[in-house]
Symmetry: D2
Subunit: 322 residues, 4 copies
């Protein structure tokens, strides 16, 4: 695998202070912890990095911080997520200026269109920042478009796309994409955005993974990647089973859905583990509290992760001081 | 009807030059033409005003131009459309500063959430610009959330929302919303975003309409509104039938979908009528050309609208000069 | 309007005894009550006539009963609803044998297919029962296919379809369908399945309506139809507003969704009004009880409909005797 | 694995003669071929067994034939697929009478309802045929309901369900279901309906698979199952890769979607291999012909499967003799 990018590239969750500022010390601890665990890259401003919630000023702050903390140890991927082409290009130019190793963009969203426009969108972004590797982010649950495999491979062969982050939850398409990519000479680096079926994506031949859960526990995903490269499928499966058990932190949450439950659980776990100072969430999402924090703490204990703080301390961590 | 806002408030389509700059002379002609026809307001940066395609700088340029052109003759609504709360608040503050009469915001999109977050979203926007009337824009086809009537009326009674622009294409819900709003003392101004079933929305008791097609032909919508206010339903129906026939400009388009077909047809019609200089579209959308322009010209002729330019002239209008 | 079929054609709700047998006396009362009110037809085994819940034996029992009760006073439409063509054809042949005036069929469902197969489906049904008027039932919420207007008009011109029952809740498409049908010489009889926006469908030019709510109160729908034919739009609107208020019986129901809430409310209202003996529902749906029945009773009272039985009597009506 | 059922249980594709009668000799060849390959069961009247297209008489004919051909060598699962409970129960009783080893039922479809009704649906079916093992068929693409894992495990613990055939294409949910089932003492036999990511389902701990593609090539799926049981993941992956390549017979089809492409390709492959006499399809689906047959033949050759007939012979196989 002589790819420029590969392996475990976690989408970094963005810590906030109680008053919703970027929490730089927590961000530093969290990114260092993942790099120390052996990850192969850091993806900042992904969906779980709260890109959609961040103003342009906040986005710049996050990119600067991430690149500064990583300090060249691994590549930094930057999410350039916005509704349509020209807005994405602005983010892409900024990411290049700030030193991104690669950028990640979705299909257009909000306005309705067809697949010809999706393809033109990626071509126009690439034209604007031709020197910067561009990854397509296939995430239909957010953008309501599934990127077709033949278009992706064509954009790879044309030098427009460097790779794909597949968060489509469509493992059948992913397997066919891997196969088509191999037949075309492997122009694309194919990363799965899965967390609990990464083993299946490796069976299919993925070049790496982008699991949000690696914010909470990166070492298992690194071990899984290493086992995969050695063909040690038994270990791949064992590590995946552990991570599936840990992913329950997101499904024990009650009364909250989507981002608030998923990223809310990641932040809460990180606060319980002492990595984040708070589990604060961006507007309009409320931080998890009370029994939800207790449930997450119970899952962490079941999985053998030692808590640095009590559930009550975490629930109170988002109280803004007067 | 002692509402602050009411009647026909077209979402202004944004003209571009061949090289995709804002075309100020065309914008001036088009807005003046609608105001001369008797519309009761102008909504700029709506979905058909290409808000999702415009960078922040372009958005500012459009708002400034619209407010300058309108020059106080009618209220100016400004679309503050973005993924999540803090980004919307930035647009809202800018709209206030630039002199908007009212702002229009959708439910959050891209990130997944629940209805509690949607409600908190509108409350936070209102807190940030409490003096500016806030309209909820119910457009599930773009944001994949249908705003529930009971939430809307509650936000109206709490002074958070001044009104609703309903583009949900769910006329049953709209009728129940009108009824609930009346029972609650009419806290909300209810505008339909329909174009070919505005008569039905008036039957239901709408306070006004926001038809994109009024960019092409505003006088019929103004006549329909006046007939409605006088209870002259026969005329309402006659005008609606004419506008349904004219709306065929969007359905005769072949090989293009969504915004490219709908707003593309509006721009093409305006170019054929001599109001816009070009029918240029924003990236990544291609302008309509060739037979599609001819088909639109044929519909305009059938509807008795005199063409100022030939289809060929319009198809060639987007060619960038060397 | 020289159509063979037109006007108000309610989908007859099917009364059950407490032990889920067909309740013939209640069925007789209900159908006679609608015919006495002046309806122009009876549609049996529609979605709200519980066609999907009824075994073939039960379907035959219902068709026989309906045709026997109606006794030639108005046409009887029979729903031939099943997954694919050959199953529908069996129902169609039986309906013909039993004396149906017309049959109603949806697009295929369950198996996935394309529009070519939908069109062939209707052609094959017509070939099997060429002498029986065939209505297409456009109900995407149940079958997940929206019937395109151009296909419907083509099938009308080819003599395959006699008409369409439009339950698509897409009033824009319906208006274009009416217009296309008129331009083609009116081959299709176009009926709206709406209940609270029938006025809009009449504005669009519908040939009639199929409102489930007419089981509860047919006279208002008949008055609305007559007013429409005379061009008395003020009365159309008044009657529609009354029926929108009455339709609240379906939205006050809590904790139950879909058929159980909608048809459950119709049956409960009919039981409260003394038309049905019970509000029993077919397996696996539970009958409405307790506070839901009280809420429906309150709506009926608000609308001025006199209750023949108490909510408690209705809640107890479904108790199976030992 | 002391389960009553496990391993490879192909959903038998139903061969038709040119004039759309059940083709018993082909059915016999095909089922015998799969049993000879070592499959652990036969599932008849599944989605790909054209249950939705078959009249009740045809269903009986198919069940009788399948049970007769299998002759006790392996268990026979029978699909009892219909819109609502009472119709399913009729099929279930017939299946029991004819000697089914187990039955398979989906959530209700066509009518809209909630999850309480889905659960009651399965409980009522089990009550009607308590002695017959009941499998829930989770196929949201057809029935538009995803069966929740906690409900499935609860129905397993209550003795209502014997297992689940998971065709939800949601591998994350499947992994959690396997885990929940194990924690509950393995009340459910969990079968994946996948074809190209069966390896991932085995990694997750599936009890078996129900791949339609096994009609074309059962031996590879049997080898994959045996390798899985021995923990030989390398062989699992190799066999899966081969089957992913073969599954391309369904994606090379052009101009046809869904069942017509998928089952159409299976039938065409079986006709090219000499197992089926024709590739005839049930109404309203047209059989694949011309270039589509040639494309499928090319895939078969690429995968090393020897053709018994030419594409032209297969295209002509559906011509009805005068």
């Amino acid at each position: 695998m002589a790819q420029q990018f590969h392996g475990v590239i976690p989408p970094a969750v963005t810590p906030l202070t109680a008053d919703q500022e970027l929490d730089l010390p927590s961000f530093t601890r969290s990114i260092n912890r993942m790099i120390d665990a052996g990850v192969n890259g850091i993806f900042t401003l992904g969906s779980s990095g709260e890109v959609a919630f961040s103003t342009d000023a906040r986005r710049e702050e996050i990119i600067r911080a991430a690149i500064d903390i990583v300090d060249g140890r691994v590549p930094v991927f930057v999410g350039c997520i916005d509704t349509e082409t020209n807005r994405v290009i602005e983010h892409a130019r900024q990411a290049r200026e700030l030193g991104a190793s690669a950028i990640v963009a979705t299909a257009p969203f909000y306005a309705l269109g067809g697949m010809a426009e999706v393809e033109r969108h990626f071509r126009l972004i690439h034209e604007a920042v031709p020197d910067l590797p561009l990854f397509a982010y296939d995430i239909p649950v957010c953008v309501h478009t599934k990127l077709p495999g033949d278009m992706l491979v064509r954009l790879g062969l044309d030098g427009v796309l460097a790779g794909v982050k597949d968060s489509s939850n469509d493992d059948v398409s992913f397997r066919f994409l891997v196969d088509d990519n191999n037949k075309a000479g492997h122009p694309l680096t194919l990363l799965t955005g899965q967390e609990v079926v990464v083993d299946g994506a490796y069976m299919a031949g993925a070049d790496g993974s982008v699991p949000g859960l690696a914010n909470v526990e990166a070492t298992a995903y690194v071990r899984m990647w290493n086992a995969y490269r050695k063909g040690d499928w038994g270990s791949v499966r064992t590590e995946q089973d552990k991570m599936a058990a840990l992913m329950r932190i997101t499904s024990v949450v009650q009364g909250v859905q989507g981002f608030g439950a998923g990223v809310g659980a990641f932040k809460t776990a990180l606060a319980l583990l002492g990595v984040f100072d708070t589990n604060q969430m961006p507007n309009p999402v409320a931080p998890l509290a009370g029994e939800n924090v207790e449930r997450i703490a119970a899952v962490l204990k079941d999985c053998g992760l030692p808590l640095a703080r009590t559930p009550l301390e975490v629930s109170e961590s988002t109280a803004v001081k007067g």
